[in-house]
């Protein structure tokens, strides 16, 4: 089926989880307001972080 490294599969699984929990689901505004812009930023940051981990692993393999 797929020939992905386990690290890559973990990245994909984490991004899929983060996408669902932070971007989907019913958005209710609770008493403590969390800035959506802040979460988006973090989400992007997390993806960049994951991409850089992947790049490092790629460099180590090469």
């Amino acid at each position: 089926m797929t020939s992905n490294s386990p690290a890559l599969q973990q990245e994909v699984a984490l991004i899929e989880l983060v996408d669902r929990v932070l971007n989907k689901g019913v958005a209710l505004t609770g008493d403590i307001t969390l800035s959506v812009a802040g979460v988006d930023l973090v989400y992007v940051g997390l993806r960049l972080l994951l991409a850089s981990v992947g790049t490092l692993e790629q460099l180590e393999r090469d």
Binding site: N4, E16, L17, D19, L22, V26, L28, V42
Partner: protein
């Protein structure tokens, strides 16, 4: 309740749901038990969280810590996952935090649409299917097909080579679009509802995501979605496309208003 704590809400279930469904999962703070807060016909899945971690200011700081966020995202999902396949659950987005259980009850009473959305999701499970193209494999396959025997040299060979590369890039774009459409259509046939989310950027291994789909499948008919995935693997596997099936998930993609129409 002391003013050092707030109430985190994970999702909503029917009012009559047995609280021991969540007996084995810990709260998002790593220690507080998960409790149901009931009002009218619905119940909020909640746990207490320390304000030192979840009040607006520390929360803003913590959200920038990817390790913290990763742990909390897992914890949020783990609580909801305890209900998946056992009873219908409406997942909330991360970060619905209330200062008291009474405020959670007020929210439930003021949100009659939550009960309607719950009923619509009864007996349905969300699955994810990603279609991923090994772009390098398809490119070399297309390039091999285009090789001619003429021993051109110099400028003419260079021009032909450039032409061929442009042709290959065009062919790949057309294939990716057609494969994504055909895959989503086939998978949707096995689902009650479906949504194609934007594909995530291609990863470092040169793999390009064609399809980032979510499918709402009736419990007991999961096999039909699995069959559709296998059929697509047979159809597009030789072109370098692989599929990843995940789930069942809490129905995050089908919980919101946009799915209501």
């Amino acid at each position: 309740m002391t003013p050092t704590e707030a109430i985190y809400v994970y999702g909503v279930v029917r009012g009559g749901t047995a609280p021991d469904l969540f007996a084995d999962v810990g709260g998002i703070d790593g220690r507080s038990p998960v409790r149901l807060v009931v009002a009218d016909g619905t119940a909020a899945i909640t746990s207490a969280v320390p304000l030192s971690e979840f009040d607006a200011e520390p929360l803003e700081r913590n959200l920038k810590d990817s390790g913290w966020l990763e742990r909390k995202v897992h914890a949020h999902n783990d609580v909801l996952a305890a209900a998946v396949g056992k009873t219908v659950v409406l997942p909330l987005r991360f970060g619905a935090i209330y200062t008291s259980e009474e405020h959670v009850r007020e929210m439930l009473r003021a949100s009659p649409e939550l009960a309607r959305r719950l009923e619509r999701l009864d007996g349905l499970l969300e699955f994810g299917v990603k279609g991923v193209l090994d772009a390098a494999a398809l490119r070399s396959r297309l390039a091999d097909n285009g090789v001619d025997d003429a021993a051109d040299t110099g400028g003419r060979a260079y021009m032909l080579q450039k032409q061929r590369e442009r042709g290959i890039a065009e062919e790949m774009r057309a294939f990716a679009a057609a494969c994504a459409d055909a895959s989503h259509e086939r998978l949707s046939q096995a689902a009650e509802d479906a949504t194609a989310n934007p594909a995530q950027p291609s990863d470092v291994a040169g793999r390009e995501m064609l399809l980032n789909g979510a499918y709402l499948v009736r419990a007991g008919r999961e096999q039909q979605l699995g069959d559709a995935v296998r059929e697509l693997e047979e159809r597009f596997g030789a072109d370098g496309v692989s599929y990843e099936l995940t789930g069942p998930w809490p129905p995050y993609n089908f919980a919101g208003e946009e799915a209501e129409s």
